[in-house]
């Protein structure tokens, strides 16, 4: 019996030496394939983009790109001298505005379709239409509607105007983005609502809570985490959206809607300055990453995990 009890201990001590990996380390070792994939998919292209941003890569040097002249921070200096800062401002303001408008719409739509009623499935399906339509289709339809002699101006009568050029183009971009993107917030909010257990509603009903306290003190706290996460993802999606402004306004776009992806596109694919466009992309990434980091720290999306630890 004594011998039988000792053997597993001996094995446990001997095993790490034989394999060179402790049990504590094993989970990390298992993550290696994912890590390799991350390096190949994210780190290598990012590293390449940073390298390209430091060299003078254009149509003249493309064929022998390894030998392209090294410019150091030259492309970065030039990118700040161009319309990049204006583009970052347009992109960020448009993205934050679109998110701010879509959140109440999405949450309200989720609440409307939370309780069962006749025809709810149809309403839910209709709500998803903007989300399932390809961006290209959405932009093409809106482009037609927003023409100077299009249906939007026909409806607006005297209030109509030029929507695809000039200052109003900014609001046209926000409008179309909101129309296409609100169902994402709706889906995230609806998923969160589904996770609220029925006992919670019953308990609040037993306590005599009316609809407003029930909404603000019972339901919305459950939505906080998923909706804050949705805000983050939606804002990033808005910032990165290229198809919508490209199809709506074409290239070159009016200055009011020269968002970052459009500027990088024109610099890359029309001016053929790959080094400069890479520098623009890196600068944009850094400028956006800073507030995102602050946001992530501030909203603490790991709140549930912390509660579980307690």
């Amino acid at each position: 019996m004594t011998i039988l009890q000792r053997r597993p201990q001996q094995q446990a001590v001997a095993e790490p030496h034989r394999r060179g990996v402790t049990r504590r380390q094993r989970p990390l070792w298992l993550l290696a394939p994912g890590g390799v994939l991350l390096v190949v998919v994210v780190a290598v292209p990012l590293g390449l983009a940073v390298w390209i941003s430091l060299i003078d890569l254009d149509q003249y040097t493309l064929r022998r790109w390894v030998e392209a002249p090294f410019l150091g921070l030259g492309n970065y200096a030039e990118s700040l001298d161009t319309a990049l800062l204006h583009s970052i401002w347009v992109s960020v303001s448009f993205a934050v505005l679109a998110t701010a408008i879509t959140v109440p719409i999405g949450v309200a739509a989720a609440l409307v379709t939370q309780n069962a009623y006749r025809g709810r499935a149809v309403v839910r399906a209709i709500f998803l239409i903007p989300y399932v339509l390809p961006s290209f289709v959405v932009a093409t339809v809106w482009r037609t509607m927003l023409q100077p002699d299009g249906v939007v101006n026909a409806w607006l009568g005297g209030l109509g105007g030029l929507w695809l050029s000039g200052p109003r183009s900014y609001w046209a971009l926000v409008l179309v983005e909101v129309w296409a993107a609100w169902p994402f917030i709706y889906l995230m909010a609806l998923a969160a609502l589904q996770s609220v257990e029925s006992e919670v509603y019953e308990a609040s009903a037993v306590d005599g809570a009316t609809w407003w306290p029930k909404l603000t003190r019972v339901v919305l706290p459950y939505l906080r985490g998923p909706v804050l996460l949705a805000c983050l993802l939606a804002t990033l999606n808005h910032i990165n959206n290229f198809t919508l402004p490209f199809v709506l306004f074409g290239a070159p776009a009016p200055e009011d809607v020269t968002v970052m992806p459009m500027l990088v596109y024109v610099t890359s694919f029309q001016s053929l300055r790959f080094g400069l466009s890479a520098a623009m992309a890196v600068v944009s990434m850094i400028i956006i990453a800073i507030p995102l980091f602050v946001y992530l720290r501030a909203v603490r999306l790991d709140v549930h995990e912390q509660e579980a630890r307690r």
Partner: protein
């Protein structure tokens, strides 16, 4: 030990497989004989006549196989972006299509990459000689006669279309030959909801062609060596004329500030517009499907600059930009001899007439073009092809073109309000000059 060997064997198998796959991706079957070999050809997808294009590709592939024994593997690109991406990746990797069909204005950019075969006398002979092509179509094949990379394939010269019934009703005997005459005729044709001109102000490709045409006719080539000449009275006059049709002459539908070329053609096809100011032979099908069927004809774009009754001595008789497609043979190709045979096949008279019949693309082959002149409507288009002038052969041209277009894009709010001041035009021209000169300064 056994599992270690198995892992080693597995690793070797994976590496071998990868090497084989990479080798296969490289393609490139060398030699001049064709049997069992494949030639990769990249051309633009024809969205207007997709079925006809497939039929043409099949027919050419069969002829090529009968002639050389080699297969043709077609690749198509849907947009200029796809085309550029494909060229970039192929140029960097040193493998990809053997033959490219690229837009004429893209040829200078392709030349700048130094990735394509420069054609000497021997190479021209292999494809049937330079003389078989319309002389003007060689105008954008290279920076000079010794450094040509582009082989003219098809032409799409720009012309105007006019409504014969409306012009006749307005007492106009013949279509305008000067820009001032065009403006005057457009004024006569404008009445109520009928307009003299259909112009696509919001198009991303049309506006610069007007400005370039009017400027070179007045003697300003826009790019003079390594100097941009956009801040120039001639260019200013061109913009004033182009904008003036809408703001001062009021001969264009105000909704045109939102029109692309296809929308302008659609408006003309409704039958309430005198002229469609810029189109090509490819629009014939759309026009025949509209209310103008049987009531429209093509006409040459004016070749006398605005504000003048005759072209100045240094002016160029440019009826259109040299528009169409050039064929390029990749420098990395291991099947260059096959590529030359293929290029000869599709630029010889029979194939050139076949592509015209199937897809409406105008021949670059002089004999084929000559044989089409019996159709009076087509005669005008062929004449436009003959009088086409190449845009400057510079790697910076894409940026210059972009700057010229951007000046229009940013002016649309003023055009919509119905007035644009000289100072505003000057401001836009200053921006365009800066951008164009900066691109020219980078030319290597």
């Amino acid at each position: 030990m056994r599992s270690g060997r198995m892992r080693l064997a597995l690793a070797l198998a994976v590496v071998t497989g990868l090497v084989a796959a990479v080798a296969a991706c490289g393609g490139g079957d060398g030699g001049s004989g064709g049997s069992g070999k494949t030639l990769n050809v990249l051309i633009g997808a024809n969205t207007q006549y997709p079925q006809e294009q497939q039929a043409w590709q099949k027919s050419i592939a069969e002829q090529f196989k009968a002639q050389t024994g080699a297969q043709v593997k077609w690749e198509t690109f849907a947009s200029a972006n796809d085309e550029l991406t494909k060229i970039q990746t192929s140029v960097v990797a040193g493998s990809g299509p053997d033959v490219y069909a690229v837009g004429t204005t893209f040829t200078p950019t392709a030349y700048a990459t130094k990735a394509f075969v420069t054609l000497g006398d021997q190479e021209w002979q292999k494809i049937g000689g330079k003389d078989k092509f319309i002389a003007s179509t060689l105008g954008i094949s290279g920076p000079d006669e010794q450094h040509r990379i582009g082989i003219p394939w098809v032409g799409r010269p720009f012309v105007m279309a006019y409504n014969t019934e409306l012009l006749s009703a307005a007492g106009i005997q013949h279509p305008a030959t000067t820009w001032d005459e065009l403006t005057e005729q457009a004024k006569k044709l404008t009445n109520g909801d009928q307009h003299g001109l259909a112009v696509a102000y919001k198009d991303n490709y049309d506006p610069w062609k007007f400005i370039w045409g009017m400027s070179v006719q007045a003697g300003n080539p826009i790019v003079d060596g390594r100097t941009a000449r956009l801040q120039d009275p001639v260019v200013r006059k061109a913009y004033e004329t182009y904008f003036g049709w809408l703001t001062t002459d009021k001969v264009v539908d105000p909704a045109a500030v939102g029109w692309t070329n296809s929308q302008a053609i659609a408006a003309f096809a409704e039958g309430r517009t005198g002229y469609m100011a810029l189109t090509s032979a490819l629009a014939a099908k759309a026009l025949d499907a509209g209310a103008v069927k049987g009531k429209w004809r093509f006409a040459l774009l004016p070749t006398v600059p605005p504000g003048a009754a005759a072209r100045p001595a240094n002016g160029v008789e440019a009826a259109s930009i040299l528009s169409g497609d050039n064929l390029l043979i990749a420098g990395y190709s291991k099947a260059k001899e096959l590529a030359f045979q293929f290029v000869k096949l599709i630029t010889d008279q029979p194939a050139q007439l076949e592509i015209y019949r199937q897809l409406g693309q105008l021949p670059s082959n002089a004999a084929a073009a000559q044989s089409l002149q019996s159709d009076p409507n087509l005669k005008v288009v062929v004449e436009a092809q003959l009088k086409s002038k190449a845009t400057p052969f510079s790697g910076a041209w894409a940026d210059v073109q972009l700057a010229l277009t951007n000046a229009v894009v940013q002016s649309i709010p003023e055009l919509a309000k119905g007035s644009i001041t000289g100072a505003q035009i000057d401001g836009r021209l200053a921006d365009a000059q800066k951008s164009a000169q900066s691109a020219l300064d980078r030319v290597k």
